[in-house]
């Protein structure tokens, strides 16, 4: 059963140095607040897993929390580069970053295999692409029925998954909707999981077939209203496209990035205070 707890406590108790960590949310419902809390608690040597690393992994990489990243598209969506990711790859700053690189289809499949407790997943993918030559977790196999050559990707089994959702009830059942990405698969593939939510309610009011994560597959549920900012929570607030554009300038230089992180993340106690610090800036 999920424990209803503070984000600070959940990160402290459930994420350990050296863990493999999947923080999912495909453009929507990105667990930004949890990312900040990991930075504040100086977690290190993490293997960061995420289809679209986005700003949260740019921040974790730039703060030196990551040893390795597993991903399938590492840009600032609609804007351009993730400069802290690029600096780590191109110059090894602040430390070298090992990568394991997929396509979206391959990585989504690897999560499905993890959630299904299978060793690998099969797809008609990666044909003609250079990725299988640089990622040993992509192989080709022959279909035992037709002989067709198909790609196999090793399952992703994170130590911890972190996602953001719209609602939880008081027992810790979680409801999410809109663009749901691979959040369900990430939680089910992981050994432990943290879900931050916009609000905790008495009754989820979830219709049949809604995307519900039952309390008993989650370790901790934390109420963090606005916790997906600058991404969005469908039905609650929109994506702050201006912040994504602003990140280009904030993250371009090492000094500028570190000063921003010191002021707005390290220098604040929680996500609410972080949001207030942006208004003052």
């Amino acid at each position: 059963m999920a424990e209803l707890t503070s984000l600070k406590q959940a990160v402290s108790e459930l994420i350990r140095d050296g863990d493999s960590l999947a923080m999912e949310g495909f453009t929507h419902l990105i667990p930004s607040a949890a990312g900040h809390e990991i930075v504040r608690q100086h977690k290190t040597d993490l293997t960061l897993i995420r289809m679209t690393p986005d700003l949260i992994y740019d921040q974790l990489i730039g703060m030196g929390c990551a040893r390795k990243m597993v991903f399938s598209w590492g840009g600032n969506p609609g804007v351009g580069s993730l400069y802290r990711f690029r600096d780590a790859i191109e110059n090894g700053w602040p430390r070298a970053l090992e990568i394991e690189e997929h396509s979206h289809a391959g990585m989504a499949n690897a999560y499905v295999a993890g959630a299904s407790n299978l060793p690998f997943a099969v797809l008609r993918g990666y044909r003609g692409s250079g990725l299988p030559q640089v990622n040993p977790r992509i192989k080709f196999i022959d279909c035992p029925f037709t002989g067709e050559k198909l790609a196999a990707v090793a399952a992703i089994r994170p130590d911890v998954a972190v996602v953001h959702a719209q609602k939880a009830d008081r027992r810790g059942n979680v409801l999410l909707w809109g663009i749901v990405g691979v959040q369900k698969e990430a939680v089910l593939a992981a050994k432990r999981s943290i879900v931050t939510v916009e609000e905790i309610v008495d009754d989820l009011g979830a219709p049949p077939n809604a995307v519900v994560l039952p309390s008993w597959v989650i370790s901790a549920v934390c109420a963090v209203p606005g916790g997906a900012y600058p991404s969005y929570a469908h039905g609650y607030y929109g994506r702050d496209n201006n912040f994504y554009k602003a990140w280009e300038a904030i993250s371009r230089t090492r000094d500028g990035f570190r000063a921003w992180m010191d002021r707005h993340v390290i220098g604040t106690g929680d996500f609410a205070e972080f949001r207030r610090s942006l208004i003052k800036a």
């Binding site: 396509s103 990666y126 044909r127 003609g128 663009i179 969005y232 929109g238």
Partner: protein, 260 residues
């Protein structure tokens, strides 16, 4: 009739939109492909089905999304599915007519690089990577690529094949078990390139108005072939330009809105 002014980018987007047909099912990349696909939907192809890899199927955004998963794509979609479902049931299954992609680099066989400039392990520039493109490029029936025409973008051989085009002069895509036909056209701000049916090399197949063949050759990193009797791209008409400019105007207004 008075001459209509337009930019090279507008010509590119309009030329690309014209290649889409009503009722086609189109898997759309963000940015330039998304602009052209929505222009097609708002002009000659009102029943085109637009699919974005974030899981939105049959979406009809009023404004162009900045990201592949903006809320407006979900709000205006017929249905929203998970990312695994998107790639399994909708793309891999062979339901997509047109895969519409952008690229950082494209080579003379239409192979796409969005991974690295330089060596993979010691890159001079690390690009964002694959996203959905490797499987879009192989599972869609036909591929359109839209990209601005520069010598840096149009190279003889890509540094890394992220998403395969027509591979090379000797290897048939079919021999690799790739179901789709591959690149049908590359639409740029200077013209349209299509693969030569014999050599598979991209050749200049339509020249945009007021562009010279020499200009296109200079912006291409290999000795570019030109089809016989090279046609001139029809310039944008007033209707196409009005709809595109309205769409761009609405989009920039919307993207500047502060979040409450």
């Amino acid at each position: 009739m008075a001459k209509i002014d337009y930019t090279a980018d507008e010509m590119m987007t309009i030329a690309a939109a014209r290649l889409l047909r009503d009722r086609q099912v189109c898997f759309v990349g963000i940015g330039l492909p998304s602009a052209a696909a929505n222009l097609a939907r708002l002009t000659h192809a009102p029943n085109i089905v637009l699919i974005y890899e974030s899981g939105t199927i049959g979406t009809r955004p009023d404004v162009l999304p900045l990201s592949i998963g903006d809320g407006i794509l979900a709000d205006t979609a017929d249905t929203v599915v998970s990312v695994p479902e998107m790639f399994h049931y909708w793309l891999q299954s062979g339901r997509i007519d047109i895969g519409f992609l952008g690229a950082a680099q494209v080579d003379k066989y239409g192979n796409i690089n969005t991974t690295v400039i330089g060596d993979y392990h010691q890159p001079s520039v690390r690009l964002p990577g694959a996203g959905g493109a490797p499987e879009i490029a192989t599972s869609s029936r036909d591929i359109l690529i839209i990209i601005r025409h520069t010598p840096r973008a149009f190279v003889e051989k890509v540094d890394f094949i992220t998403s395969v085009g027509l591979l090379d002069a000797t290897t048939d895509r079919r021999a690799l078990g790739i179901p789709g036909n591959g690149p049908a056209a590359i639409i740029t701000d200077l013209g349209i390139l299509k693969p030569d049916p014999k050599t598979r090399e991209l050749v200049l197949s339509s020249l945009h108005p007021e562009v010279t063949i020499d200009q296109v050759k200079k912006a291409t990193g290999w000795p570019l072939g030109v089809v016989a009797d090279l046609p001139m791209t029809e310039p944008p008409n007033a209707d196409e330009l009005r709809v595109l400019r309205d769409l761009n105007h609405r989009s920039s207004q919307s993207n500047q809105k502060a979040v409450a």
